[in-house]
Subunit: 119 residues, 2 copies
């Protein structure tokens, strides 16, 4: 198995730090377009540089789209999952199912069944 393998390269892309969390955030609450600042404020602990970097990667690989509204002030940028990005959410759902089967070690998630994530 080397970097000529599709799965290998895909894993390398999506398993970068914060990537799945960002995708999950864009999926929550119905999956509509979300602004940079909204994402940053919802994801606790992420820094602007990393968020910016990840968003660019995701746009480049067509998992999300970026729309800039220049007419408004202040400038409004919105990110949204593509069909391909939405389809990837099922992977994260699978991770959630697995985690709940094997690793439920805190009361909050056990009670809520991770409903906060809207998964």
């Amino acid at each position: 198995m080397d970097d000529n393998c599709t799965v290998f390269r895909t894993v390398d892309l999506v398993s970068k730090k914060w990537t799945m969390v960002i995708l999950l955030e864009l999926y929550r609450d119905g999956g509509g377009p979300k602004r940079y600042s909204t994402i940053k404020n919802e994801i606790l602990g992420i820094t602007p540089k990393v968020l910016s970097t990840r968003l660019k990667e995701l746009v480049k690989h067509d998992l999300i789209t970026k729309e800039i509204d220049v007419s408004s002030f202040p400038i409004k940028t919105e990110y949204e999952l593509t069909e391909m990005g939405i389809d990837f959410i099922k992977v994260i759902k699978e991770i959630k199912e697995w985690a709940l089967r094997w690793k439920v070690d805190n009361r909050v998630c056990a009670q809520l069944d991770c409903s906060e994530c809207n998964l």
Copy 2:
């Protein structure tokens, strides 16, 4: 969403670099126990330090087991997926399915349907 969320923390664990590739390698060829050197030689590009670190993490979180055979010479260590680890393979399979749906961009994988990964 913060680090009190089970999904959040699980993603942080499994999305570390090389983790999924290692799990996949332990699943290939029937999923029997495999030696440190075998894993290192099969996964092109991984360094001994990172492999060692990831294996420890995976043992700690019960996704794999480590068995040391002191009686033999040279000493033989073998790693093997636990039931929990095997169950996680379905996540990686889901990633493969997704990759093949959206990202088949090289002939090798398109032809082989990633059969080299035994997925």
